[in-house]
């Protein structure tokens, strides 16, 4: 019958088309060539202009394309010479004079010298600089202490600070201090971010929007040429897709592996690297009002949260329990004597009873994700469960990251008793200075959203910032940590161990405590 014929015909056609669609992919082998490393990034970079970006994700590219005057010594957070061969600091700590490396060329062929250094900092800091409009430069306040940059001679440059500022060198090692080519900025203007030129081991080759940023080996690198021929950075925002790509062989190196996916990579085909970094994950407690105005209640919260379970189970061991406000990665400033609050619900209950609190009810701001926030919703949920177990009544309010910051940074007063927060810093000064001093309350332009105030801590931090001697600074920080630990303005939860997975073809890969991704010595077979 006719009817049968045509339906069969069309079904056949449909089946054929379906088979073709499947057949398309049969011989896919997601192999990447040797010598080319494909890195799975978490997002498209904003720009490749180090002065203009803020995200760790972008730093992972920039650190391989540019050099700064100084850099962190491998495996530590201590500075060592880079484009500057050496430096001297004046007695009062307000003048830094750098001797620059000779014969370094930018990828665009222009020479690196003192004028370029001055150009770099003036561009960022001087509003009347002809290239200031190539910004904005959101992190320029890292160098807000710089009063002037003076060219002494072609190979010598002097920074004048308006006050002693101990973290200055450390900030220079931060990506915001990377040196860009003056010629390239002059040539491309605001488009420099897409046409970058630095002195680093890799030079920029190509940026295919939303697909890849490709950098190639700089054979003339002053510190010895890289082993890789090229690096491809692929932005893959979704962690799951990133994991799938890694499993399917589409990328060689994956950063920020979701904790739950780690178990997939426990085979010979992959290598998992870990490195604790200058990161601390904590809960801001509102010390101004509500139950947490009472120190006993704050301590009770610290006892109530099962931090070991959080880092081992929720975060699958990708973090360690934090003891205080300073992460152990700042080894020289870290107080080894500090012990984390143990998980002790009974003690917490006792403290609550002592404070006279019956079922204190608290509002808890949780974010959905954000820089360094690990797995904030799961963490928040688990913390809520822990707190409720000792008698708190916790109401969670979740915010998407930017709204969250908009709610938390102006202070928790009148809104919440508790908020998640995480910081990654490059100097032990940064976090406590910005978030624990009385002078850093939100209304004074700081990040002390929980209104913690202790004059002793204020004094210690002020002194540490101006001391030029690292030994002295270490003492001051250690004392500060002891006091803060006891005052418990935060619930100290975790220090993140950054992780990365590489395929077995990748050798010589190592994560840095700075969380930067340095690929110069990496080999891919």
């Amino acid at each position: 019958m006719q009817l049968m014929d045509w339906t069969r015909r069309s079904l056949l056609a449909a089946a054929g088309a379906g088979a073709m669609a499947l057949g398309l992919g049969l011989p896919v082998q997601a192999q990447t060539p040797p010598g080319v490393l494909v890195v799975g990034q978490i997002a498209e970079p904003k720009a490749l202009d180090p002065a203009a970006v803020t995200a760790v994700n972008d730093f992972r590219i920039l650190m391989n394309v540019y050099d700064g005057l100084v850099r962190y010594k491998s495996g530590t957070l201590e500075v060592e010479p880079a484009l500057a061969e050496s430096w001297t600091i004046s007695e009062d700590g307000t003048e830094y004079t750098f001797k620059l490396r000779d014969g370094v060329m930018f990828h665009d062929g222009s020479a690196f010298n003192a004028d370029v250094v001055k150009f770099n900092f003036d561009r960022m800091l001087k509003e009347d600089h002809p290239y200031h409009n190539t910004g904005p430069f959101p992190l320029s306040f890292f160098f807000s202490a710089v009063e002037s940059v003076d060219v002494i001679d072609a190979q010598t440059v002097k920074f004048k600070l308006n006050a002693p500022y101990a973290p200055f060198l450390s900030n220079l090692a931060y990506p915001t201090g990377l040196i860009v080519s003056q010629a390239a900025v002059e040539q491309h203007g605001a488009d420099f971010g897409r046409n970058p030129s630095g002195t680093g081991p890799f030079k920029f080759a190509e940026w295919r929007s939303n697909e890849a940023v490709v950098v190639e080996k700089n054979p003339d690198y002053w510190d010895g040429a890289a082993s890789l021929e090229a690096v491809v950075y692929r932005p893959i925002t979704d962690a799951n897709t990133r994991t799938a790509e890694m499993l399917a062989g589409g990328i060689d190196l994956m950063v920020e592996v979701p904790p739950v996916a780690l178990s997939e990579f426990q085979t010979d085909a992959y290598r998992v690297s870990e490195q604790a970094g200058p990161h601390v994950w904590f809960l801001i407690l509102n010390a101004k009002e509500g139950p947490f105005a009472d120190k006993l209640v704050r301590q009770a919260a610290n006892y109530a949260v099962n931090k070991a379970a959080l880092v081992n189970d929720v975060l699958e061991g990708t973090a360690e329990v934090a003891a205080g406000p300073t992460p152990p990665a700042f080894a020289w400033a870290y107080n080894e004597a500090l012990e984390p609050y143990p998980y002790d619900p009974e003690r917490a209950k006792a403290l609550l009873a002592e404070a006279g609190m019956q079922n204190p009810s608290v509002t808890f701001f949780v974010t959905e994700g954000g820089s360094g926030m690990l797995d904030p919703v799961a963490m928040g949920t688990a913390i809520q469960a822990d707190l409720e177990a000792v008698g708190f009544s916790v109401k969670i309010q979740t915010y998407e990251w930017n709204t969250f910051l908009g709610e938390v940074n102006p202070g928790l007063e009148g809104k919440a008793d508790m908020a998640e927060m995480a910081w990654m810093t490059n100097d032990p000064d940064t976090l406590p200075f910005l978030a624990l001093r009385t002078e850093a309350w939100p209304d004074k332009g700081g990040f002390n959203s929980g209104y913690y105030s202790n004059p002793q801590v204020d004094a210690l931090l002020d002194e540490a910032r101006t001391a030029t001697d690292q030994g002295r600074r270490a003492e001051l920080y250690k004392e500060m940590q002891t006091i803060v630990h006891d005052d418990a303005p935060w619930v100290f939860v975790a220090n993140w161990k950054q992780n990365a997975v590489t395929s077995s073809k990748v050798d010589n890969f190592q994560l840095e405590p700075s969380f930067f991704l340095l690929l110069k010595d990496v080999v891919k077979n």
């Binding site: 997939e264 469960a385 309010q397 915010y399």
Partner: protein, 622 residues
């Protein structure tokens, strides 16, 4: 309402959906009393337990919470949210749509422009932006999902309302003194309500999916509260390592949405009056034939019908539309088939070439022979070869019976090319000739017209031309002039008459108008309740009807020139063909009825070239 439930229950798929959904709803209603683990108690050491581990039937999630418990609590929430979002969107959307559709004009224009704007806005982004503005949370997600769906409801309901607002009962309500508000509430709303319910029931599932989508983007419920979307979203990170945490809520969404959709389809089918009447079933290429025996040939005409019986099977009712009709027509002869609506005259005509829509139509008996070959039960291929080639039809309403999207020339050419392997150009030339033969002025340019561009009379000429396309032997004309004005009707009738004489056509002419029969037909058969009650030469029957029905029907027709007068009427109504009385079907309305009329079958008795189905016929001398 009872009918609705019965129809719903008859739809097996909908029933399955209802059962599954009912089970799920029952389960989630019982959730608070079921012996389940607390949904929000975390036990991180126990995380990612596989399904069927003791104590955790479906395993645990990334925080060691019991998945079964969270699933049920989450389903509870998701169902509530999906349902409320659908109700909110439907209520607001319907209100907007009704207002726009009822008032029309500028109000309508303004509202629909706004709706267009919202619809042009990518809806996920709109929802996302709303949630971003309101802050995340299931309540806000609900608002967002409802808000982005309002325009779709508004547009849908507006369309329906426009149709209803132009119905005559709305005008009647206005004349009965109702104000706008009252008309909207008591006239429009009850008629739009089924559509709203249909739209809603088919949307609940969609709403659940959309809310899940927002949760997937991290904008749904607040932890630790579980809803299906946020469960899926939270589990996504562990998709590769512990797929069951994703699969459990994913499959639950699938089950719920699918059962809701099945039920929604059932609700739609049950509420849709067209489906209820079986009007949305596909008619097959030829009418179903289910006859036990083939009667012997009786007549000797070119087309002979022997005891044709056609029934409509709707649900468990059987409508005997045609109850054994025998006819015969010879070359050059015009046979009139006359009767009131529901008498079975059109069904008889359509049965001949198997054109009765089936389902629900079934030919249950008799034979229709063309030159001795039985058309009933003939293989489809052969039947198709005869259709339009040897036996052609002219239908009543030429606007509905011509394809609205093809040019009339092409429709004519197609009729030829179906049966003759000739080229496109040749067929086109033939088509123009045909148009000329039915006296259409400017046939060349008319061939390029679409049916809607022609007047009713012109369209019917095209219909006739199409019937003539292959020089058929028999034309079956089913009320071809009923939809036309009298002046045009006269033109068409005279055209048909000329064609019949010129080409020796046999015509079966179906009509309800004695005047038309009188002018055109040689013989006439009168039908009542599916049967022929009287047959014979037209002039004789009109002058001396023997059957009481025939005679009284003729008396009912006012004749021009009679002036102002009382008309004769037949009291009562024709019987319904699914419930025919025993004996003579006309007996209940007949003033000559005897007790014997209601007993036994009344046969069609021939006499002097006429026949009548009456026990007490009125034979008057000529």
């Amino acid at each position: 309402m009872r009918l609705f439930l019965r129809l719903l229950a008859r739809n097996r798929l909908a029933l399955a959906g209802a059962v599954v959904l009912g089970f799920v709803v029952l389960l989630v209603l019982m959730t608070p009393v079921l012996p389940l683990a607390e949904p929000n108690i975390t036990n991180t050491a126990d995380r990612f337990q596989r399904p069927f581990t003791p104590g955790h039937l479906l395993g645990t999630d990334h925080l060691g919470r019991d998945l079964l418990s969270r699933l049920l609590w989450g389903t509870r929430l998701s169902l509530a949210v999906g349902f409320s979002a659908a109700v909110i969107a439907a209520t607001i959307g319907a209100a907007i749509g009704i207002v726009a559709g009822y008032f029309g004009g500028r109000t309508d224009n303004l509202i629909m422009r706004g709706v267009d704007m919202l619809m042009a806005f990518p809806y996920i982004l709109l929802a996302l932006a709303i949630v971003a503005a309101l802050g995340p949370g299931l309540m806000n997600a609900l608002i967002a999902v409802a808000a982005v769906n309002v325009p779709f409801f508004a547009r849908n309901i507006r369309g329906i309302t426009v149709g209803i607002a132009h119905k005559e009962f709305v005008d009647a309500a206005k004349l009965s003194g109702m104000g706008h508000g009252r008309i909207i509430l008591s006239e429009i709303l009850p008629n739009v309500l089924p559509v709203i319910v249909i739209a809603m029931s088919t949307t609940v599932g969609w709403m659940i999916l959309e809310t899940a989508g927002l949760s997937f983007l991290g904008l749904g419920s607040q932890p630790p509260q579980a809803d299906l979307g946020s469960m899926l979203g939270e589990a996504r990170a562990a998709l590769i390592t512990s797929p069951h945490t994703s699969v459990v809520p994913g499959v639950m969404i699938l089950i719920i949405v699918m059962s809701i959709n099945l039920l929604g389809d059932g609700v739609r089918d049950a509420l849709d009056p067209r489906l209820r009447s079986g009007a949305l079933t596909r008619p097959m290429a030829a009418t179903l034939v289910d006859r036990d025996s083939v009667p012997e040939p009786s007549g000797d005409g070119i087309l002979t019908l022997d005891g044709i019986e056609t029934q409509f099977h709707v649900g468990d009712r059987i409508y005997r539309a045609v109850g054994g009709v025998s006819l015969s027509v010879g070359p050059g002869e015009c046979l009139g088939l006359i009767g009131e609506s529901g008498s079975g005259k059109s069904v008889t005509a359509l049965s001949i070439m198997g054109l009765v829509a089936s389902p629900p139509g079934v030919i249950t008996g008799g034979a229709a022979r063309y030159r001795g070959r039985d058309l009933i039960g003939m293989p489809y291929r052969e039947l198709r070869r005869l259709r339009g080639d040897r036996i052609a039809y002219i239908f009543q309403d030429p606007l509905a019976t011509l394809h609205p999207l093809y040019r009339v020339g092409d429709q004519l050419a197609e009729a030829i090319r179906c049966h003759h392997a000739i080229g496109r150009a040749e067929a086109h030339d033939r088509a123009i000739e045909l148009l000329k033969s039915v006296r259409i002025p400017n046939p060349e340019s008319r061939a390029r017209s679409y049916p809607h561009e022609m007047s009713g009379g012109m369209r019917q000429r095209v219909g006739i031309a199409m019937a003539l396309a292959n020089d058929p032997d028999v034309i079956i004309a089913d009320e071809p002039t009923t939809a036309l004005d009298v002046t045009v009707q006269a033109q068409i009738l005279s055209l048909l008459n000329d064609l019949r004489r010129d080409r020796g056509l046999a015509i079966v002419f179906i009509t309800h108008d004695f005047g038309v029969v009188a002018q055109l037909c040689d013989r006439v058969a009168v039908m009542y309740a599916g049967r022929i009650v009287e047959e014979g030469p037209t002039a004789e029957i009109l002058a001396r009807p023997a059957h009481p029905y025939t005679s009284r029907l003729i008396d009912c027709v006012p004749e021009l020139g009679g002036g102002r007068r009382e008309l004769a009427a037949i009291p009562g109504l024709p019987p319904s063909v699914d419930d025919l009385p025993a004996g003579c079907a006309f007996a209940p309305r007949c003033d000559k009825k005897q007790s014997s009329c209601a007993v036994g079958e009344v046969a069609l008795k021939p006499r002097d070239g006429r026949a009548v189905r009456c026990l007490y016929p009125d034979w008057r001398p000529a």
